[in-house]
Point group: C2
């Protein structure tokens, strides 16, 4: 990803927190020489060395992804930014946060390992509820999916959050985003 220096994020804790919070992303690879992307939730392994997920066996992407170098693209909230919000002259742009991970993909079909993966994914996303749903997967369901593991070989992190604008402009951008309902993006800007 093209990242001008003022938008580059290199702090590991920051990057991994972003990955944990924005795990629904795109698995991009090539299928028979053609670009292909699936929108799936990813789980970061506890040793931070891999992203794990699963695909339907009917999804052709898994058929030749094994040992391929793939791109996992994660994106956070985003919004158009109007120069009319600035105190100082500027041009229109888009604010967003993105993490790109390059790594080699391995597929796995071991039923126990797949069960562990879906249980962990479920646990993660249910943890914010008062009465978390308890995993209860039928064997036939587990048999319909295949696991994928992407080694985290290269991480690129871009926060395009008006860091190239004066503080007064950033403040006004945050206020306008809050006014227009882009709460998550405004929060990301406040905390960066």
């Amino acid at each position: 990803m093209y990242i001008p220096r003022h938008f580059e994020v290199t702090d590991d804790d920051q990057i991994f927190a972003f990955i944990e919070a924005n795990g629904f992303g795109q698995l991009i690879s090539s299928v028979q020489g053609k670009l292909f992307s699936s929108h799936i939730p990813f789980l970061l392994s506890s040793d931070r060395l891999k992203l794990v997920g699963h695909l339907a066996k009917q999804n052709p992407q898994h058929t030749d992804i094994d040992n391929q170098e793939v791109l996992v693209s994660l994106q956070g909230p985003h919004s158009y930014i109007s120069p009319s919000w600035y105190n100082y002259p500027g041009v229109p742009t888009w604010n967003y946060q993105a993490v790109h991970i390059y790594g080699v993909c391995q597929v796995f079909d071991d039923r126990e390992k797949i069960k562990l993966l879906v249980d962990s994914l479920t646990g993660k996303h249910e943890s914010s509820f008062q009465n978390p749903w308890q995993p209860d997967y039928k064997d036939s369901m587990l048999g319909a999916i295949i696991g994928i593991e992407v080694s985290i070989d290269d991480i690129q992190c871009k926060y395009k959050l008006s860091q190239n604008r004066p503080a007064r402009d950033r403040k006004r951008v945050i206020e306008q985003l809050e006014k227009s309902g882009s709460i998550s993006l405004a929060r990301a800007m406040r905390h960066w």
Copy 2:
């Protein structure tokens, strides 16, 4: 993209309306044999035959994208869906909307054409404001970007909006999404 029949959208007006409303997406191609993605706003041409956008000249993606078949991936709002929201048994999933467009990319460096493009993009995104910002681009800025045009050769549209669940479950999912602040996704489900 893998699209089970109940999640497939084929109505042209619906698809193009989605593209217009969710134009900030990813331009995915290969740069020196490696997958590459840029997050940029796309504009649909008035004849609906092309997506148009621009890249910074410093972005290496433009250097060998000319005449490449690329993938433009557009994604709408998305959310985890808990089976605890259902009346009938189910498993966790993610609801989302996505459009994938395949086409051949052409770059253009004509200053007048680039000016027309950024003026149109600006006009589109400023149109919702009471006092739209008036385009005022310096020549040096226009010289720092390069235009890209992607022919729309193949469109794939997936709305994963609980269409495989009974009406009572869909209703509860919408209510829960509204409660948790996923207003745009809830609205998409109500109108589908």
